[in-house]
């Protein structure tokens, strides 16, 4: 009797200890994730703030031994990202509209969503290779446009996904009410469903912008980079990630400083976009 009880007790102690140990490890894993996030942000602010200053935004990328800024790279990044977003968003929204509104649950729709989800995680450097073959080889030169098209291929799956998800959340009673008033389907979709799903779709576009503005790999072979001032999208174009990639491993101290400054800028912008997009959806779900 006593041995049975003490056996139970030791068994219980073992289970309790194992539970505490595993939960402690889980907490440690979460702490580790947060620690890495903090360490990256700390390093970025530490190394990047040295480059911050008006010249970062007014001067262009210098030769290795001169002072300079990142103006051409910042403008190039904005143009290429804007191009990618403007090219990819309509394609994504329309494709998502067809999947969610005209053929939800059909075989075709399932296939496209399946392929779309694979494109969502496909290696971005492969997209760069693809656009290199489709655009750079026939045109015989790299260009800002090629970079934009490469980025647009990263935008499309993100926007398709959020559009489908958000349109699926629109209550059918809204569509039925509009149909009862005699509205044709295209008006139901554009005037009722889009408006109801606007916030979520906007979030998708913002997340897509955040995703592409830090992408380096798809631009390596397409936009190529440019150390001069250029607004010509039909020529090789500078962009922040490309400049960072070129400058960070160079012996030139000025280049290194600029690289970290650029890294700080781009990460700050991306994290701000991410947080804004998330708080937008938060607001939306609170309203409902």
């Amino acid at each position: 009797m006593t041995t049975a009880r003490s056996l139970d007790l030791s068994r219980y102690r073992f289970r309790r200890t194992r539970n505490r140990l595993v939960l402690g490890l889980a907490t440690a894993a979460t702490g580790f994730g947060l620690l890495v996030l903090a360490a990256i942000l700390f390093k970025l602010i530490w190394a990047g703030s040295a480059a911050l200053g008006p010249s970062l935004f007014t001067m262009i990328t210098p030769p290795p031994d001169r002072e300079g800024g990142l103006a051409n790279a910042i403008v190039g990044s904005i143009l290429i990202t804007l191009g990618g977003t403007l090219l990819g968003t309509p394609v994504g929204i329309f494709a998502g509209t067809y999947l969610a509104e005209y053929s939800p649950g059909s075989r075709f729709s399932q296939l496209v969503q399946f392929i779309n989800d694979i494109l969502l995680s496909a290696p971005s450097i492969i997209i760069g290779l693809f656009i290199f073959e489709v655009m750079v080889i026939p045109m015989h030169h790299s260009s800002g446009w090629a970079g934009s098209v490469a980025l647009s291929i990263l935008v499309i799956p993100i926007v398709v996904r959020t559009t489908v998800d958000m349109l699926a959340l629109v209550p059918n009673s809204l569509r039925e009410a509009a149909a009862a008033l005699g509205a044709p389907k295209w008006k139901i979709v554009t005037l009722v469903c889009y408006r109801a799903a606007m916030q979520g779709m906007l979030t998708g576009v913002m997340l897509a912008v955040a995703r592409i503005s830090g992408e380096t790999a798809p631009l390596l072979f397409t936009a190529l980079g440019n150390n001069g001032w250029s607004l010509n999208m039909n020529a090789p174009m500078a962009s922040l990630p490309l400049v960072i990639n070129q400058f960070v491993n160079d012996p030139s101290e000025i280049w290194n400083r600029l690289a970290w400054g650029g890294a700080l800028l781009i990460t700050a912008a991306i994290l701000a976009l991410n947080i804004t997009a998330r708080s937008l959806t938060n607001l939306g779900s609170m309203k409902q």
Binding site: R16, A26, G33, D117, S124, E133, W186, A259
Partner: protein, 321 residues
């Protein structure tokens, strides 16, 4: 009067008869574009790599030669690097992600849940190149001065696994690349695990608690078996991401074409080879071999991601039923 308005409605209706199909087939066209992109990628990569496969045949995949000067190319070294770094990323990253998912679903107080998930997901927002820079300037010195000498001293002469931890502590190398990848896939895997853990009916968990199970026993015996397919899907999704990750790996893998048994030795992955060498390709065969590498990587990730997707779909079908 009545006739007039009927006539107007008629013209309006006939206009709608055009607009409606235009909108329908217009949007359908764009959803076909999504399929066309995938088809285009495979076709163009296959066409571009034709020269390499014609020259080297199947041997391209199993040859470790990589010499632009003699025109001999093989995919084995980069393929090996891609596989080994991804495996390290999974070995380290999956338990970490599992821990984070358990903490968020079972332990975290409600008020911190949202901000904590956001913080972990911000890790996914940080660009690859920033991970590369942080890895090269913070993690590499740390590993080189502290972790790697320790590993070499205590594990370098151990039986069986000794050769994995031999050689000089360079800081850069396959192990470092794998560790960076582990951190990069953590937000993806943990957020999927969290999502699928939340599909477990509370009744099941409460029954187990009612029988006297500890939190860990509930997770291990109830939550995990119920969500197994989804968890594996999430892990495969992370694996697909890790295999294609470019800039972060390029910065810390050391870029050596030698295949070494040691995890501390430098190596190369398919993506890092492309990022490093593509713009220097001098002749057609070199270019074609690079594109062939790209095709191999794309097909690998395609298979892994497709498997991941199938598993996640299966879980959702069951959860919906």
């Amino acid at each position: 009067m009545v006739e007039l308005s009927t006539a107007r409605t008629e013209t309006l209706r006939s206009r709608q008869q055009y607009l409606d199909p235009i909108f329908k087939y217009g949007t359908m066209f764009f959803s076909v574009v999504v399929l066309a992109i995938l088809g285009g990628i495979i076709l163009y990569l296959a066409e571009g790599s034709w020269a390499a496969f014609r020259t080297f045949g199947f041997g391209f995949l199993v040859s470790d030669a990589w010499n632009p000067a003699t025109g001999k190319f093989g995919a084995l070294a980069p393929l090996y690097g891609t596989v080994v770094t991804s495996v390290i990323a999974m070995v380290v990253g999956v338990p970490l992600s599992f821990g984070v998912a358990i903490f968020i679903t079972e332990l975290c107080p409600l008020w911190a849940k949202r901000s904590l998930s956001t913080a972990i997901e911000l890790l996914a927002g940080i660009p690859s190149i920033i991970y590369g820079m942080w890895g090269l300037f913070t993690l590499v010195p740390l590993l080189q001065e502290h972790a790697q000498p320790f590993l070499i001293k205590y594990l370098g002469h151990a039986p069986l696994i000794g050769s994995l931890f031999s050689g000089p502590p360079l800081g850069v190398g396959v192990l470092t690349a794998g560790l960076i990848l582990a951190v990069m896939v953590l937000p993806f895997i943990s957020s999927i695990m969290r999502d699928v853990f939340e599909t477990v009916p509370p009744m099941l968990k409460e029954s187990a608690y009612g029988l006297g199970c500890t939190t860990w026993e509930v997770v291990w015996n109830v939550v995990l078996p119920y969500t197994r397919v989804g968890v594996i899907g999430g892990i495969m999704l992370g694996l697909g991401r890790a295999m294609g990750e470019t800039m972060a790996v390029t910065y810390v893998i050391g870029n050596s074409a030698r295949i070494s048994a040691s995890l501390l030795a430098p190596g190369k992955s398919i993506a890092s080879t492309l990022a490093n060498e593509f713009n220097n390709t001098s002749d057609e065969l070199y270019l074609s071999s690079m594109i062939a590498l790209g095709l191999v990587l794309f097909l690998l990730t395609f298979v892994v991601l497709a498997a991941a997707k199938f598993m996640l779909i299966r879980l959702h079908q069951r959860a919906g039923a």
